[in-house]
Amino acid sequence: MHRLLLRVTDAIVLLWIVTTLTFALLHLAPGDPATLLIAPTATAAEAEQLRVSLGLDAPLPVQYARWMRDVLHGDLGMSLSRSMPVRAVIAEALPVSLFLGGVSLVASFVLGTLLGLVQALRASSRVDGWLSMLSLTAFAAPSFWLALALVALVTSGVAQLGLPDWFRLPAFGMQSPAATDTASWSDRLRHAILPLLVLSIPGAAGVSRYARQAVRDAALAPHVSSAFARGLSRLHVEWRHVLRNALTPLIVLFGLTLPGVIAGSVFVEQVFAWPGLGRTMLGAIGARDYPVVLGLTLVYAVAVVSANLLADLMLWLADPRRRA
């Protein structure tokens, strides 16, 4: 318990460093957000007034202190380009990314672990070899390219290859343009298929490579041979002696991947035009919307740090050796 508390303090210090670094990075970069907001016809006095009202005239340490004070009060400031609170901007985009990331994370781990298990324990070496090659290829494919390839397949590809018509999937957006708020769920589901596939295929490939290696390493341990030598059934040994130990690296991987739930879909959101956090980030960077970029970085950092804490906790629960 004491060690857990220590980890939490570490995490808070880490968050402070991250936000400070981001703040410094943003403000050291050339360019000034006010220049993008000021109308070309504005006089120098009007421009100055805008800078004052945005707080951009203050010296950097003062801006930093103000921002830090607000963050500690749970206030991330106002978006410069959209004149709404940063919290609202993030709250609007978060569910989209959570949906994409959450569903694909579960799919990746379920599919990937099963595939890795089959490869490590049941497949012939030839099948295992081909599956390894396939997962390596899928894992290497950049998501934006995979997305475009799938879009080409389900649009013009359907016609050229003579595939059945239900194969024709909507390629962009979250629902049909004509759809109202009460748009049918099947329409939304059809729109979600491609983005989820693009996120899950490389995800599952990565997990399967990891799971295969973890199970193989666990199976090489001396206590496994000894269990076989004692005449225990294969299923019993695999279930009780191999999988239990293969779990540890998979939990670490889960902790590392978890932040991807909100951060992993930047390209997919961009290609499929889903208004999630990634698209918001890209838009904010383009518009020099400092408060939004800072707020999002903070959200990402909180996600990474708390995922690491969660992974530690899960390891502690799964592996009795760590409780000593």
């Binding site: 991250v18 290497a140 950049p142 390219w145 475009l148 080409a152 290696q213 992993g264 740090v305």
Partner: protein
């Protein structure tokens, strides 16, 4: 000795992936010498544009992979893009390796406050997804080749730093290091001659796998328009450029991706061969020799 057996020996030493990478690098290196400036620039667009793979344009010139929307030959452009992508990948990860080795050695050798500052900095950078970090930095400074390389270097050194630091800490108290110090060898020389060589092996493997990651990251940045700017070809901005022609001429966007995937797969296999992790499909060893090494470069977006 016949060419066949020489080829066979090279293939056995490097494997297909290594050989592919060498051939690709050489082809990319000599492309500008073989192909005239004319063939690489935009000619009479209307007569040569959007030629499908394996066919001839209106002048009767044959195009292996077809042409793009401006009538440029895709094969040539792919090789020109390979120059950029491979260079950025290698330069970016070499830069991060140099940073990682220097900081790791410093942290492990000096210990104390230096160690804690460097480790905290590394942890802080790891707490932000690399892509987000890349986006912020690449977008705020004006995009270009040098910015991409520097940014890749600055955001990729953490894993090498950790490896080297752990290795240096482990070796620092060994008798032969103490002995060298006792004999009056200056501290810097002890570090260079007796400590660092132990750490270079694992740093090399991390760097090789980092190349794959850097190539993917560069293509992503260029795809978003934050990396290498057209008309300079990079696989990422070629995919972006083909996006609007996806329905009419899918090969423009898809071919650079195929090149990218094949290259990344090859780099990864070479890297994993170095660690001794069986990754190669056809010759996967049944029992991996005590490899605690996991498939690297996870997670990724």
């Amino acid at each position: 000795m016949s060419i066949d057996s020489r080829w066979e020996r090279a293939r056995r030493a490097l494997g297909w992936p290594g050989l592919f990478l060498i051939v690709l690098t050489m082809a990319a290196a000599i492309t500008p010498l073989l192909v005239s400036e004319d063939a690489r620039s935009i000619g009479s667009v209307m007569r040569t544009r959007l030629v499908p793979p394996f066919s001839r344009d209106a002048y009767g010139a044959w195009h292996l992979l077809g042409t793009d929307a401006f009538g440029r030959d895709l094969t040539v452009r792919l090789l020109m893009g390979a120059r950029i992508s491979l260079f950025v990948g290698v330069a970016g990860s070499v830069l991060s390796a140099v940073l990682g080795i220097a900081l790791g050695a410093l942290a492990g050798w000096r210990g104390g406050l230096t160690n804690r500052v460097i480790v905290a900095l590394g942890d802080a950078l790891l707490a932000v997804p690399r892509l987000v970090l890349l986006l912020v930095v690449a977008a705020l400074w004006s995009p270009g080749l040098d910015v991409v390389i520097v940014v890749l270097g600055l955001t990729g050194w953490m894993s090498v730093m950790r490896l080297v630091r752990a290795e240096v800490q482990g070796v620092r108290l060994r008798p032969y290091v103490e002995g060298a110090t006792a004999l009056g060898v200056p501290s810097g020389r002890v570090l260079r001659r007796h400590v660092l060589p132990n750490a270079l092996g694992s740093a090399l493997v991390a760097t090789t796998l980092g190349v794959a990651n850097a190539i993917v990251m560069e293509s992503g940045l260029s795809f978003l328009g934050l990396g290498v700017q057209p008309p300079t070809a990079s696989w990422g901005n070629m995919i972006a450029g083909g996006r609007e022609w996806l329905l009419v001429a899918p090969w423009i966007a898809l071919m650079p991706g195929v090149a990218l995937v094949v290259t990344v797969v090859c780099v990864t296999i070479v890297g994993e061969r170095l660690t001794g992790t069986p990754a190669s499909p056809t010759r996967a060893r049944r029992v991996s020799p005590a490899s605690s090494a996991q498939p690297a470069a996870l997670p990724r977006s």
